[in-house]
Subunit: 331 residues, 2 copies
């Protein structure tokens, strides 16, 4: 099923079930007021939401209305924990090469993951930042919303606790990052608010495209109207979602409603004739490629007024999660 | 006023007002069901809680009951964001010296801060971890619960948004930390669940001890019955709470119910005759001191069955926040 959280002036919004074709929706307030409430009691609540979803898809829901992504908050506007892993190390390898260094082996053996959180933005909320000079970069990624995961969970157990998947725009401030990472505390100021797709979907919605703990579909990034990336999220993902969750939970449990993000999606260029060029899921990757090829990066970071659209289509070309469509504006 | 969250089987617990002397309490459910609900609408809710607090202290609350810290969850069991700063750099300086390196200047100019979160433990909840070999260390700290703080908030604005203060046991896994920090993502696995004091208090409860954005009182750590630390949290704090909050919010806003922790508290040894020896607020600091003095660390990290008590007394010797009393047990 597909779920969204609609803006109603409250901090947690109102839970709605969204039709598979993203055209209509139905309030779920008779079942659970918020997505967090649904996650808190998932085994009991999810079947009721599924039933409403079936009625909505069959055109039998009584109070369906047109679904408008601009009315969406993040599917889970307040998460009790969030961590993001660099699960596609190709872009890290490119960055290392552009800097003339080797990628540390530790980043290939285990995911590079950092805690985050704070403001979680809706799909059409502006990215509001004060300075272009911070090197504002989008980051096309995928995030999982979890049920309760105990400390020491295996990847198999973690796999069972992945409740929902959604798209994420993991924004980075590339100019702040080197100094911040050098301090040792990981990215904090250099990772501002993350944006999310209009809907979160249960993994079964992806059919065969959800296998091995990965999403085997292309993630499309369109920057100011130009398609700049369409890497396959099922390719070159060194750590799948269950592994990322198990990494987070090695030394702690996390509660229902925690989010594990992964991104940016990044594929190695393929030389096969006729292959689709993957492009890039973050500007930093393109700048690394340019630096390696030309000695200098020519693609600038985002400018105020820029628009970024991140979307994933299924095999039939239908949007699975709806599109993240964020504009960068000046604080 | 003093607030606690009592265990009731739910994930967010039930909000209670606790008497100044920590002897009695009163459910606040007629005012707000949870601390998060109170924080979401603080300007409206806080005066009502204050009124109940006044009645309770005057012995006029109608359904007061004995306050039992063992029934407490963390004051805010699910925070929408959490970050912890190393605000007393003395222990970092000692660690650097023990390793024969200089403390990077960046750690003195700006706080070393990392996002965290996940499980937040009540004052008497066990610290449950699988391996002593992870180098399990307590960390005596202080944490602030915030109201809404916008992106780019000044320290002055941040100061106004500090709603509550509480004690924190910022547990670290010292054996996992070096490799994890070397990866660049900051501490994640090496910072497991944090424990909190029975009550969170509004800053005015501290009277003159809350000034300049710091808590000018000693934070006492008692490890297996031995008082090992009593550093003054108002001394050697290089970044006060408003500065820590402003640091977090340089590139993002945070919502009501976010937590900013600071710790471990650490004082430079004073040679003044008659001065109270500050001792240590985390074992790593003591081990650094031993390494500097003797070439080797002799104090071991925590063992299963160990007990750690963290408490702060006011000028009259009364416990302000109640005591964190956690036992380390094997997962």
């Amino acid at each position: 099923m597909k779920l969204a959280t609609l803006k109603d002036g409250s901090r947690d919004g109102q839970l709605a079930v969204v039709a598979r074709d993203l055209r209509s929706a139905h309030m779920a307030d008779a079942i659970a007021p918020t997505l967090q409430a649904a996650l808190d009691d998932w085994a009991f609540i999810a079947p009721q939401l599924e039933q409403l979803y079936g009625q909505l898809n069959a055109g039998q829901a009584r109070r369906a209305f047109d679904f408008d992504p601009t009315h969406c908050m993040a599917p889970l506007p307040r998460a009790c924990a969030m961590a993001t892993g660099a699960a596609w190390p190709h872009h890290l390898a490119l960055a290392a090469r552009a800097n003339g260094v080797e990628l540390p082996a530790a980043l290939i053996e285990e995911p590079l993951m950092a805690a985050g959180g704070g403001e979680l933005l809706g799909p059409c909320d502006d990215i509001v930042l004060p300075f272009e000079e911070w090197g504002i970069d989008f980051g096309a990624g995928i995030a999982a919303i979890l049920g309760d995961v105990p400390i020491g969970a295996t990847p198999d157990l973690a796999h069972d606790r992945i409740r929902l998947l959604m798209l994420a725009n993991i924004v980075s401030l590339r100019a702040l990052m080197p100094d911040e990472l050098a301090k040792g505390g990981g990215p904090l100021q250099s990772t501002p608010a993350t944006g999310f797709s209009p809907v979160a979907v249960t993994p079964d919605e992806l059919g065969d495209a959800w296998r091995g703990g990965k999403v085997h579909l292309r993630l499309r990034s369109t920057w100011n109207g130009n398609l700049v990336g369409q890497p396959d999220a099922g390719v070159d993902m060194a750590f799948n979602f269950p592994q990322l969750v198990a990494h987070l939970c090695k030394t702690r449990g996390v509660g229902a409603g925690s989010i594990v993000g992964a991104g940016p999606v990044s594929n190695k260029e393929r030389s096969k004739r006729g292959a689709v060029a993957p492009g890039y899921g973050c500007i930093a990757q393109q700048r690394s490629s340019e630096t390696i090829a030309d000695g200098t990066a020519s693609t600038p970071f985002m400018r105020f007024g820029d628009a970024i659209r991140i979307e994933m289509l299924d095999e039939k070309g239908k949007s699975l999660f709806g599109a993240i469509e964020q504009k960068l504006s000046k604080a």
